[in-house]
């Protein structure tokens, strides 16, 4: 009797742990033509965590994050097998429309990529493609999203000016605001600060700390200090494999794998 009780608590814990996962990757393999870019990836990503993905160039970290919202589909000649579950639904299944996945999972890219439109229109874009026409809702959402991305105070007097007039860091926060407008569950960030100066980088990092209250964030970064500063968990990718995935503290202070140790102490990469 007691034994079964213990077992069921264990099961409950397991179920609970499972429930808290936004993404669960199981045996994911990916090929660009003949090149085996991701090898047997297994990763469970918890909700409301900042999960950092680090690794040297060409290790597959960008490929992996682009697979999470199936942006990788845009690259010709890509083959995958294995499973990625988003909230327990297989993202590769026919019933899970890619448009729905990308609505629930926002993405911020390496280079700030605002549309050649006004600041306002950049944020309204996402609402309009989803059929929201009510001016008042759009106006409110634009303000809320800009506030959420810590950009409102800087641009409130010129939201109808072209977005290209903003600085690089502001453009990147605009891109984050553009994501927030759709109330996503997860935000994927693919080296969001690699094209920015240190001050803008710091602002984005502070913003990420605020955003993690509401959103699950997965961030690919080249910058190990950045991963150490902002993330709860870190995955170290090397040659298309996950070498180590653990709490950020553990990865940076007592890594289990010698390759992780070599990488974070700057011996290669």
């Amino acid at each position: 009797m007691a034994l079964t009780a213990v077992n069921s608590t264990k099961n409950n814990q397991a179920v609970q742990a499972e429930e808290q996962l936004v993404y669960n990757t199981k045996n994911l393999n990916l090929w660009y033509g003949d090149h085996h870019a991701l090898k047997n990836i297994n990763l469970g990503i918890k909700e409301k965590d900042v999960t950092a993905i680090i690794g040297p160039s060409g290790c597959g970290k960008s490929t992996y994050i682009k697979t999470l919202n199936r942006m990788i589909d845009l690259v010709p000649g890509v083959k995958t097998n294995g499973i990625i579950e988003y909230r327990k639904r297989d993202i590769f299944s026919k019933d899970f429309l890619v448009e729905e996945l990308r609505t629930r999972v926002g993405m911020v890219f390496q280079k700030p990529n605002p549309f050649p439109k006004s600041i306002y229109e950049n944020i309204a874009f996402g609402l309009k493609i989803h059929g929201i026409k009510n001016k008042q809702i759009i106006n409110e959402t634009v303000e809320k999203s800009l506030r959420g991305a810590a950009l409102w105070d800087e641009v409130k007097d010129r939201i109808h000016q072209p977005a290209y007039g903003l600085s690089g860091g502001q453009q990147q926060r605009l891109c984050i605001a553009r994501c927030l407008a759709l109330e996503p569950d997860v935000i994927l960030m693919d080296e969001p600060t690699s094209a920015l100066d240190p001050v803008s980088t710091l602002k984005i990092e502070e913003l990420i700390q605020e955003l993690k209250e509401k959103y699950s964030i997965i961030i690919v970064t080249h910058n190990m200090q950045q991963a150490a500063r902002i993330s709860d968990k870190t995955a170290f990718f090397l040659n298309g494999e996950v070498v180590e995935f653990n709490a950020t503290d553990t990865i940076f202070n007592s890594p289990a794998d010698s390759r992780t140790d070599d990488y974070i102490s700057g011996r290669f990469g």
């Binding site: 919202n69 942006m71 845009l74 010709p76 448009e99 729905e100 996945l101 990308r102 609505t103 926002g106 993405m107 890219f109 280079k111 990529n113 605002p114 549309f115 050649p116 874009f125 996402g126 309009k128 493609i129 989803h130 072209p162 891109c175 553009r178 994501c179 759709l182």
Partner: protein, 294 residues
């Protein structure tokens, strides 16, 4: 040590004079080419304007063709060209831009599409007479349009189609991938991305290329001759299946007459044709500058 150096500064400095001479000579060659071209153009324009300008009058626009030069006008040709272009522009624009969007955004890149691509590029270089023969066979004879506005318009549309497709493809290809990714990343469908991101960005390029192609359609003569467009027309078309004449046909007709007066009328017609072409090209330049400034 110095004696063993293979490169000697003194030797190289000594060659500078010679290099500068060559520099100047080459510049002279290019300048001569430009001056020569300009002179030819000026002579041509001077001859046409001095010949034709006195014949430009309100009557010239108001009158139909006539056996008597003093009564002959260009009305039928101007109106006929407008009618023809009202077929060419929508047909070629819709087919051309549609094909370009399909090839760039939808079609898989494989052997078949690259074969189609190669053929489109080759079609752009096929002589216009060949398109005339195609039009004669299909539109005039098989479909039975006769030598009408519709037959000539479709023929001209086919003639300029490859140019428009290639221009539109280049404009679409120039749309930064990051912008498309931003749109897809927000959950947009392919069509929403094309309509809201790709086309607004590509429109200036598409418009510029298309306008240049349309101005070619206005000036082409050979396909009209082959399709059998008459030169002596004393009425205006009242429908797309009516016969008509066009500016280059009228000019061609007048130049082939023996009387000098008709040659002068042809010069006046050429002035009008040139005016239309300059106007269209200016619009293309204006569109390009306007959108580039943004």
């Amino acid at each position: 040590m110095e004696n063993t150096a293979r490169v000697k500064a003194e030797e190289m400095v000594g060659r500078i004079d010679g290099r500068l001479m060559k520099n100047k000579a080459i510049k002279g060659i290019f300048l001569t080419a430009t001056v020569f071209t300009s002179i030819i153009l000026i002579i041509l324009l001077y001859r046409i304007i001095s010949q034709g300008a006195p014949y430009l009058s309100w009557d010239f626009f108001q009158n139909f063709a006539s056996r008597r030069p003093e009564q002959a006008g260009i009305k039928a040709a101007v109106v006929g060209t407008l009618w023809m272009m009202s077929v060419v522009i929508p047909t070629a624009a819709i087919l051309g831009v549609g094909t370009a969007i399909y090839l760039e955004e939808y079609a898989k890149k494989n052997a078949l599409t690259s074969w189609i691509q190669m053929n489109i590029s080759n079609l752009a270089g096929v002589p216009s007479v060949v398109f005339g023969l195609l039009g004669l066979t299909i539109f005039v004879r098989v479909l039975g349009f006769g030598n009408s506005v519709l037959a000539a318009g479709f023929t001209m549309a086919l003639l300029v189609l490859p140019v428009i497709i290639v221009a539109a493809q280049e404009a679409i290809r120039a749309v930064p991938n990051e912008l498309k990714e931003a749109s897809y990343g927000l959950g947009a469908t392919k069509w929403q991305t094309i309509y809201r991101v790709v086309l607004p960005y590509a429109i200036p390029g598409i418009a510029t290329g298309s306008i240049l192609a349309f101005s070619r359609a206005i000036g082409e003569t050979a396909p009209l001759i082959v399709v059998g467009i008459p030169t002596f027309v004393a009425f205006l078309p009242s429908g797309y299946l009516d016969s008509f004449t066009a500016l280059p046909m009228q000019i061609y007709n007048w130049t082939s007459r023996p009387q000098v007066d008709f040659h002068n009328l042809a010069a006046a017609g050429i002035i009008i044709l040139l005016g239309v072409l300059i106007l269209m090209n200016s619009v293309a330049v204006w569109i390009r500058n306007r959108y580039q400034a943004r």
